[in-house]
Symmetry: C2
Subunit: 147 residues, 2 copies
DNA sequence: CACGCAATGTAGCATATGCTACGGATGAAG
DNA sequence: CTTCATCCGTAGCATATGCTACATTGCGTG
């Protein structure tokens, strides 16, 4: 899942372009985090999580969800069987908790900046996947000193 | 370029899932912003911007750059001819300046939080595309009051 | 217990982004 | 003006994410 084999240009140019490279490489991981978070929340709220629950949550078709769920199952994050609910593996659960925590910190941080609730919720969704540990720590510090 | 024709599920479910829907819908725009910014900077630094400059900058192959440049040209953001340098249209220039300004604010904001330079540069790349006007304004406020 | 609707899966297509391999264009150097 | 390294375009493939249309499963109901 990591890479293939070759690589001609990029290794040498890492210095200059590491930020962008990282940004792009993270997309699959972002999807994984969004999905395990959603499964976690849905199970908490409704007792079980179905393909259609996720389809509604992400506003995509059930087909898209199905395929992604299949991939995440192969990655060991989810468990499911045909026509059965979706559950998190231990690994998926760990990722979900980590993601939710990070999400929560970003959300609270935006709120502490004075951003309105709705905007903060929207922006935190987009931002959470791009916040490094160092920046997250800085946000935590800010939350502590301002409270 | 906006959409095709159909749309069954998403319109109705916007209420619940607007944050996610927005996040996903923005990817093409993010690429556009990254590219016009890079063209702008490269022209400033080197006098002209070539496909290979962008390929090195983003650490992707020249093929990927070529295709994206073609798309952005069709969108009226860039101008170029085969084997010729890439330039920004007026529209592209406006977008570049807006993006750079936003980028700059996010970067300065992260630095003001105490995030180190290198991390701030990396994170601001990822974050800038997910920051709403409201949040950007909050960051500006923060920068003013803390300085 | 058969039936039908809702949920899910499958087939097949589109777009966006990656790549390698190969071939054509440009321009500098001889 | 030829030559050649470098740049760039095209062909063709892969993956990730979207979709519609159609097939199938499961389960509640009559």
């Amino acid at each position: 899942m990591t890479k293939k084999t070759p690589k001609t240009t990029s290794k040498k140019s890492k210095e200059r372009s590491e930020p962008h490279a990282r940004t792009r490489a993270a997309h699959a991981q972002e999807t994984a985090e969004d999905y395990v978070e959603a499964v976690f929340d849905t199970v908490q709220e409704k007792g079980e999580c179905r393909v259609l629950d996720l389809a509604r949550h992400f506003a995509v078709s059930h087909v898209t969800v199905s395929r992604i769920v299949g991939r995440l199952k192969q990655e060991g994050l989810l468990e499911t069987a045909p026509y059965r609910p979706i559950t998190l593996t231990a690994k998926g659960n760990r990722l979900a908790k980590r993601s939710k925590k990070r999400h929560q910190i970003v959300l609270e941080f935006l709120l502490s900046l004075g951003v309105d609730q709705k905007t903060a919720e929207i922006d935190s969704e987009g931002i959470e996947h791009h916040v490094s540990e160092a920046t997250l720590a800085a946000m935590k510090r800010h939350l502590k000193t301002r409270h």
